[in-house]
Assembly symmetry: C2
Homo-oligomer: 314 residues x 2
């Protein structure tokens, strides 16, 4: 008869995590200590909403817009947390200031949480707010940003709005992960999915934009209303570039002069190949470059920037 192993008092985690600071349950914690119960329905049912803001050279960018979208998502999922927008803003600023990171990726999350009885009724659960700041990250790595991305165009269906409102930012990513592996199989860097009509949708963490004859299009339905996507509309409006949201057949990509993607994680990123085939002349286009410059210039504009107050240490 075999002898049972012993029960340990505390979990020992051998993995390493990025630097940064998280907030949970009233505490600010190093990232390696930021852990949630495996029984939290944010994990077990992906019953959660979230948002990601970023800090660039010590300034948050459009934080209010992210907070507003986040609160709208919580409301739609019947969730609430004991913090108002002002308090959440303070928590996010504190995470970044404590981390000392001048360029940061700042995520905030509301999970369904748990109930002591592990009740299956989501109304019984105590919702949970989590926030964290880690080093700024990007959908595209440095090399990919320099040469432009090679994007796979898949026929994988983005989870449709009839199942899930795509404007409530959520963690339902297995369709995206499937698209990524389909992309890797043809040596692409990332991948884009389609909507129920077979039109372009979005990809893992990004919205897509198609440039032709000096005009820009981006998918309208079945996509997250990205804050960076909104920023592109704002830039184009100021630059007198026509930019519309509408249904875009996948075939429109073939005729594109330029393609780029947008994400809080990376900003504006050029796509220079689609499934290995060059977009236009295969170089990062002039409109993409112009918009990218405007995007980074906006980061010091007082209308969008809020400055982190770091502790006075050398």
């Amino acid at each position: 008869m075999s002898i049972l192993p012993a029960l340990s008092a505390r979990h020992v985690d051998h993995r390493s995590y990025p630097v940064g600071v998280a907030y949970m349950d009233g505490q600010y914690l190093p990232m390696a200590e930021a852990k949630i119960s495996i029984l939290d329905y944010g994990f077990l049912h992906s019953d959660a909403t979230y948002d990601v803001a970023h800090v660039w050279k010590g300034n948050f960018f459009r934080l209010d817009d992210h907070l507003e979208r986040f609160c709208r998502g919580m409301e739609q999922l019947h969730m609430s947390v004991p913090y108002d927008k002002e308090q959440m803003r303070e928590i996010l600023h504190n995470c970044v200031a404590l981390s000392g990171l001048k360029d940061a990726y700042v995520e905030f999350i509301c999970t369904r949480g748990t109930s002591p009885t592990f009740s299956r009724d989501p109304r019984d659960a105590e919702n949970r707010f989590i926030a964290f700041a880690i080093p700024f990250g990007s959908v595209a790595n440095e090399e990919q940003q320099k040469r432009g991305l090679n994007l796979a165009v898949t026929d994988i269906l983005r989870i449709p709005p009839a199942s899930l409102d795509p404007t409530v930012k959520n963690y339902h990513w297995l369709d995206m992960v499937r698209a990524l592996y389909a992309g890797y199989a043809i040596e692409a860097d990332s991948a884009v999915l389609v909507d129920q009509e077979g039109n372009l949708s979005e990809g893992p963490g990004f919205n897509i934009f198609v440039v032709r004859d000096g005009e820009i299009l981006t998918p309208k339905g079945s996509v997250l209303h990205g804050i960076t996507r909104q920023t592109i509309f704002d830039i184009c409006s100021g630059q007198d570039i026509r930019c519309e949201q509408q249904s875009i057949p996948v075939d429109a990509l073939k005729a594109a002069d330029e393609v780029f993607i947008t994400s809080t994680a990376g900003g504006v990123m050029a796509v220079t190949r689609l499934g290995g085939q060059a977009v236009g002349d295969g170089m990062i286009g002039t409109i993409t470059q112009r918009i990218t410059k405007c995007y980074w210039d906006m980061h010091t504009d007082a209308r969008y920037a809020s400055t982190v107050r770091y502790p006075d240490i050398a």
Copy 2:
């Protein structure tokens, strides 16, 4: 100028969790200690697969079938863990034995995990295996099981197979949660969703069966191939009851003599009302009762049962 809050060395969690034992990273832990990093992509991207088996009166039921489905899911998601089926079986047995629970809900999970750099490429992540045993739980509470469930029939689309293979058991539940809240709004106990043709699909944690004129139907596509669902096929085959999987229009529910749902969490559960309207005469039907009895009788059948060896303590 405000003073920054202090960084805490360790997370203090004020919440209470059910009793039970979890396994992670080589350790067996009390449930309250079983926590994963908030950076694990199993959480942040719901990039995970799982299975749930149960122990009834000291016996696992059809554990091999659950393990097989789980391993198939891992393979499809390009995941692997450093345990073979035999080792996983031992871990699950140990969790239950250590917990002392004679009736247990036993979940095992593979998450994408993390990489030290928080890389967005899922191939860079170290996958993570987690298992836990907590007290047996059910989709329906005791009162609901006694009177039969009141199920809302919604037009919410179950995430379609073109997005996500429903036979890979996954945590993409926000459509289910949406259906639950729609159900609660009309005082139902739970809810069922539809597939892309508007036919019946499944509900939060269960498959559905419709009985008419002594014959049983259950949806074919857009559903998890539940182990309890398979058990119903096996029972019906032994009992000479015709039971088929096929597309079922939602309207077929109106003509049903009996309706029941199945889940590892609860077994066979009668549905006696649909959106408040009685199914048949509103009582738990004879076929549902007969199948329920067969289901529990199978739990001591050596072909399906594997006995947990609990430590010899009073």
